[in-house]
């Protein structure tokens, strides 16, 4: 009897000791976690803010950032005949994802011992993963904003190709061969609810000869963060001052809350959603043109900076890109939206690889440089055989040269 009670006593003490130790461990780990995440969460942005002393607001002027580019002009690089065995990873933009999946086997045909993982996760994750070093290449439809460059000073944004965007609509009774004319200003008013019917006088005024129905417009936008939203809202900001000061442009913006609006995930979701919603209007990447046509959606001719309504043809995209060639700075962070020129299609953008200048070792840096150079070269990754599959357009040669120069900065 006594014996068993003392055994119980000992057992109880052992357990209480164990519990004490466990509680201590819990507190230590939780505390460590708090400390770690406090550093990552609120510390990092604070230390990188560049608020001028005395002022509470800092507006970054674009010129201050453009002066940071390297001045070394790299000629067309020569690719090594073989590479050391390596595995590198790419993640980010879902718009670039299909192209990477064409590029990787093409590259792998020459460099058989290099393995490249690809993932379509979204431009934001592409940028933050490249910054964190969890992947070597982040893919983004959006360039790095000045504030982001200050946040991640080691990141480069390197254009790999040029993409464009359609403005699609589902208008029963109007054949998809009839293309409506549309302006950025009117689109902004549709998306903020100022214009709510298809037969609004502002729309009919630029569409003579088309009988538009008296139906409510359903503006559709992306619910996930998207480079498409980035360039679409850039177009709206460039053409409508209310939009510029109240909503702005980003991969996801605070779209005005109007009950007739709708949102979908991904370009595929936008096609499906627009097809299911008569009298909708939507913005969809050009690589989905075969899908929008199969869904019976029409697309608009957009007004460019010269005032002309232009079709989304390869020639018009190239015309816009050519106009922006000379103003592209060495760091290549620039919007191509609303370019000057009579034929320029107004919503185009560079598709970027977001890469850190400092890779983990020399071999990785060599492989990343070789792969990116291969992607940009007109006889390799920028060949029509790759780009035509996704509706993209090749970089002009002077832009490719700027990309080579940026790629040359990648080192261990």
């Amino acid at each position: 009897m006594k014996m068993s009670s003392s055994v119980n006593e000992r057992k109880r003490r052992a357990i209480s000791n164990a519990v004490m130790v466990v509680v201590a461990v819990v507190l230590m780990v939780a505390g460590g976690g708090v400390g770690y995440f406090a550093g990552a969460g609120s510390g990092a942005p604070v230390t990188t803010t560049v608020t001028a002393p005395g002022a509470t607001t800092t507006v970054y002027s674009i010129t201050t950032v453009y002066s940071t580019g390297s001045s070394t002009t790299a000629a067309t690089p020569t690719l090594p005949s073989s590479l050391p065995a390596a595995t590198i990873s790419e993640t980010g933009s879902t718009l670039l994802y299909p192209l990477f999946n064409y590029w990787v086997p093409g590259f792998g045909a020459t460099y058989t011992n290099v393995h490249i993982n690809t993932a379509g996760t979204g431009s934001g994750i592409g940028i933050s993963s490249a910054a964190a070093g969890t992947v070597q290449i982040g893919a983004s439809d959006a360039y790095l904003l000045p504030a982001q460059m200050n946040q991640y000073p080691s990141l480069l944004d390197i254009p790999l190709a040029i993409s464009a965007q359609m403005i699609n609509y589902n208008l029963p009774g109007i054949p998809s061969t009839t293309h409506l004319n549309m302006t950025g200003n009117i689109l902004a008013k549709i998306y903020n609810g100022t214009i709510s019917y298809w037969d609004d006088s502002q729309i009919t005024a630029i569409n003579p000869g088309v009988t538009l129905p008296h139906q409510i417009i359903h503006p559709i936008h992306r619910s996930d963060g998207s480079g498409d939203t980035f360039i679409f809202t850039t177009y709206l900001s460039d053409t409508n001052s209310w939009w510029k000061t109240n909503v702005g442009f980003a991969t996801s913006v605070s779209f005005p809350g109007i009950p007739t609006a709708a949102a979908y995930v991904g370009n595929g979701g936008m096609v499906q959603g627009c097809q299911a919603t008569p009298y909708c209007i939507a913005y969809i990447g050009v690589s989905f043109m075969s899908n929008t046509q199969a869904a019976g959606l029409g697309y608009a001719y957009l007004q460019n900076a010269a005032g002309n309504f232009v079709d989304i043809t390869q020639a018009n995209i190239q015309a816009a890109a050519a106009q922006m060639e000379s103003s592209t700075p060495p760091n290549e962070a620039i919007s191509l939206v609303y370019a000057p020129g009579a034929n320029s299609y107004p919503i185009i953008n560079y598709e970027y690889a977001i890469v850190s200048k400092t890779q983990s070792d020399a071999n990785t840096a060599l492989v990343v440089r070789t792969f990116l150079n291969w992607c940009v070269m007109p006889q390799n990754g920028n060949a029509p055989s790759y780009l035509n599959k996704v509706g993209f357009v090749a970089l002009p040669s002077s832009i490719a040269t700027l990309s080579y120069a940026q790629i040359a900065q990648i080192g261990p």
Binding site: K11, G122, G257
Partner: protein, 333 residues
């Protein structure tokens, strides 16, 4: 003998320590998650204050301009309000419960009181199978089948014939509140019906026989004996189902239309929920150079965490009390 004893004591101590460590890992994880959410959420809690709970507009601000609000960096014009997501979460889950509760109770009653034993066993199996379907599959079905069906047939008819009821008239969208509520209701049926069935099956045979002896019909026995008997556990199972609906993400992302800056006024409005919004916005929040949108999302997560944890605790207490009271009852009988 002595050495062996001390070795065994050490082994015993190690055993106690290791098992306690493993056993407390759940607690550890809970604290870690809470700590991370709290730390990430603090800047947003300070910057947004009470506005976070009272405003409709979720605005990360203008991406080209950084500013400082109450000592924290943010994009200019940033202001975060969770009302759209909070109300969407509660309304869609409430609707799911409204549709799912009678459905689940019907299933449970049929399985315990009406169906013959063999049918009941095999049917129970299928109901439980329903619980194992990943939510994205429900969402996929909702996106491809349910929402277009609602848009083309159900909602126009409802708006036309039941439009006199407030909130049922007006333009229809297909994807929105009704679709979300329906998909969520299907997802809570297995959990609610399984627990209710177990509670109802515990009704003592003597009570049922007493009912029969009094000449009660099958329906009267269910209504006057079985349901009162299992009442607390059934309510608990409903709250547990609510807990699942509150946190459901993927299915809602696919069928809700992810409303932004607008509150639902009819049954058909686009909506958004805390979890769905967190999932779809996180990517672009990472591009906010001030980091404030990530902080605001952490605060959303904190709110969701508190809501679902509360629902789960309440549900578990109710379910346990329900079963305990039935057991006590059994002893008395």
């Amino acid at each position: 003998m002595k050495a062996g004893g001390s070795w065994r004591r050490t082994a015993d101590r190690v055993y106690a320590l290791v098992s306690a460590l493993l056993g407390s890992s759940a607690l550890l994880f809970l604290f870690m998650v809470l700590a991370v959410l709290a730390v990430f959420g603090v800047p947003s809690i300070i910057v947004n204050g009470l506005n976070f709970f009272t405003t409709v507009i979720w605005n990360p601000g203008i991406s080209t301009t950084l500013t400082t609000i109450r000592g924290f960096p943010a994009m200019s014009g940033a202001s975060y309000g969770m009302l759209v997501f909070f109300s969407g979460t509660l309304i869609s889950s409430g609707l799911a419960l409204l549709i799912g509760a009678p459905l689940s109770l019907g299933v449970a009653i049929f399985l315990t009181s009406v169906a013959p034993k063999r049918l009941s066993t095999s049917l129970s199996f299928f109901v439980e199978l329903l619980a194992g379907i990943p939510s994205v599959v429900f969402g996929f079905w909702g996106f491809l089948v349910l929402a277009p069906l609602l848009f083309n047939y159900v909602e126009p008819a409802m708006a036309q014939y039941l439009g006199f009821i407030p909130g049922v008239g007006g333009p229809v969208y297909g994807y929105g509140l009704l679709a979300s509520g329906l998909v969520l209701s299907l997802m809570i049926v297995p959990i609610v019906s399984a627990i209710s069935r177990d509670a109802m099956a515990q009704t003592p045979v003597e009570l049922k026989e007493a009912g029969m002896a009094l000449g009660m019909t099958n329906w009267e026995i269910t209504r006057k004996v079985v349901l009162p008997y299992a009442k607390t556990a059934i309510i608990g199972s409903l709250v547990l189902g609510l807990g699942r609906a509150l946190g459901e993400t993927m299915a809602v992302v696919l069928v809700s239309q992810s409303a932004l800056n607008v509150l639902p006024k009819t049954l058909y409005y686009p909506i958004n929920t805390l979890s769905a919004f967190m999932a779809v916005t996180f990517d672009s929040a990472l591009t906010d150079p001030s980091g404030m949108e990530v902080n605001a999302i952490a605060e959303l997560a904190l709110v969701l965490f508190i809501i679902t944890t509360t629902a789960n605790i309440v549900a578990r207490l109710l379910v346990r009390r329900g079963f305990i009271s039935s057991a006590e009852h059994l002893v008395q009988v």
